[in-house]
Symmetry: C2
Subunit: 364 residues, 2 copies
């Protein structure tokens, strides 16, 4: 793997991650860009106890551009995008419309491939491994920035959840605080340690493996299951079997196995809603997807230990992947109960979700 | 006000609230309904510490029926709906597809008016006062049910947030636990009491009134403001000036003033996204709405003290009203940061939201 760090015309960082070591990345960004003027502000809600990022400059952000104006494609034929090179493997750059900026953190865009029409699920294992390297490296780099408390690598996929750029990409948020969701896990972890002396992540994983009904896929180093109290119609959690606090601490064996596990899960996600379609009953399209089938919208969220948490070694790195689609053509909305009271209603029993996700396994 | 309690064919309760005392409600539900078979189950998430309602029977619920099959319209001309009467003022009944049922609580539907094409904002002050009476009475009744810990009256409005029945209606959830959002407020309240001896709700309200920049509307008994750390593009909180823990404790003066305050705020919400439209610059449609203008999707959520909270008298009843629309034609989605980490990104500065909501005031 070769990493090349450079700058865009307005001073933002751009980092190439290449699988070949002999690639030269010296393309210059020739766009006449104004310096980025962001006004991101973190405000504390005294009643709810959380922090909100107020980012008004984002209202002007790029919104569903036509494919030939995609800012994440390579710069080719005189068309200048965010990536000045004529091709790339994986490219990461600072978001021009960041939710977090300056003292409030940092936002980056991760382009998974230069292929505009691909999805993460279409990547080869080698390409996915390179993305994992990029996530890991960015976590290391962003952790060094002053004020950063937690690094969050994620992917939003699908117009249904508001994705405005079709090019396959994810994002990284470097928060200047520990997020409320992680705070909740840390509280549960502390209470469980107090009560039992054990590690709650380890115990939940052991219980899921012993029960078995919600296990979707098990590798040598990773296990994938639908959680007992899943909040979303189809939701899986991917845990390395050996607990580590963050991506940097993953060992080579887990790192090597991850791409095949994750790609298989993503491909299954795209088959959940194929009608009357179990094992083998589908037309093989790109990445095993039925031709013309609607891609499943999803959010993929890497949970890593906050940088300065008191018992950070007890935290368990894991990936939470879920879709907001509850059945073919119907979405799960966060309405009164979820948004008003933070109580989730899930119409798909976790055991049924796990069964479906086993049913649509790839042929091997 | 006259209240009449009866039963639907499958045993569910139906309650009429009429403004006239001489109305007779003796219509019988003649539908051949099977008994409601629900399988709602509450599951505890050990890591997040919250409870999820798993309600698989809801997948079959009524989904965007044509207007002439609306289950919330009165029963007329041989067409039998959920309300057997040929007309009604306000009607409340147990949901046939409840998220919470049996030991897990209860879900009710509140029909605001028999007029299928109206919105809450179209109601007269008298009609809105009747809805307030219904909310108050249902809170009292549901609080008596065994196992109920918190009563939540709310309205989801708009297809954009997943509303599948166009008829103007709200819902009431009687939860068998204190909701996570309320827990957070109670925690902040306790910490503030400990630190200052004061009441956090009172202090926040006093600070908003003193600052003034986010005040949208002030009556004699109610004040409406955009919170300092608003989570949603347009979000307002309505507080009675005299703090009370729940709807039952509202005094007559606040009760009497509420309809005009709330109706005005709802009408302003429908005008937020009218292009180039300030005070008086619009065609007057129904309820003051510009003819043909898109109605603003919103969630309106009544926050009431949990029934058995330790310091419940310290809680402040209030209504939180917010829209997921961030600009004309664009929605705010809860994607990676919000759904993955519970960190909200808000693209509209609260002061700008308040200014817009003052700008679109009704002429008086």
């Amino acid at each position: 793997m070769k990493k090349t760090t450079t700058r865009l015309a307005d001073g933002r960082e751009l980092i190439y991650y290449d699988s070949r070591d002999d690639v030269v990345r010296d393309a210059v960004d020739h766009r006449p860009l104004d310096p980025v003027a962001t006004a991101s502000e973190i405000r504390h809600d005294r009643l709810l106890g959380d922090d909100v990022a107020i980012a008004s400059h984002r209202q002007a952000r790029t919104y569903h551009p036509p494919a030939d104006e995609c800012p994440l494609c390579p710069s080719l034929g005189g068309r200048l995008s965010e990536i000045p090179a004529p091709d790339y493997d994986v490219a990461v750059f600072e978001n021009r419309f960041p939710s977090l900026a300056g003292d409030s953190g940092r936002c980056e865009v991760v382009c998974f491939t230069s292929d505009h029409d691909a999805s993460f699920a279409d990547l080869t294992a080698e390409q996915a491994a390179l993305v994992l390297e990029a996530w890991t490296d960015r976590t290391a780099e962003l952790s060094q920035l002053p004020g950063v408390e937690q690094v969050f690598c994620f992917e939003n996929r699908g117009e249904e959840i508001g994705v405005t750029l079709g090019h396959p990409h994810g994002q990284i948020y470097a928060y200047p605080f520990t997020t409320p969701r992680t705070e909740r896990m840390l509280r549960s972890l502390a209470a469980h340690r107090e009560a039992t002396g054990g590690n709650l992540f380890d115990d939940v994983l052991a219980d899921e493996l012993a029960d078995g009904r919600r296990i979707v896929l098990e590798g040598e180093h990773w296990v994938v299951f639908v959680p007992y109290a899943a909040h979303w119609p189809y939701e899986v959690h991917l845990y390395p079997k050996r607990r580590v606090p963050d991506l940097l601490a993953l060992d080579d064996a887990a790192r090597t196995e991850f791409p095949q596990i994750y790609l298989e899960v993503l491909r299954r996600f795209d088959r959940i809603f194929d009608e009357g379609n179990g094992r083998g009953g589908r037309a093989a399209g790109r990445g095993g997807r039925a031709a013309g089938a609607a891609r499943t919208p999803y959010i993929a969220a890497w949970h890593q230990a906050p940088l300065r948490a008191e018992h950070r070694a007890e935290f368990a790195l894991h990936l939470e992947l879920f879709t907001i689609r509850r059945t073919s053509g119907k979405l799960k909305f966060l309405a009164g109960s979820e948004s008003g009271m933070n109580v989730f209603i899930n119409d798909v029993p976790p055991e049924a979700a796990a069964e479906r996700l086993r049913e649509v396994a790839s042929e091997s």
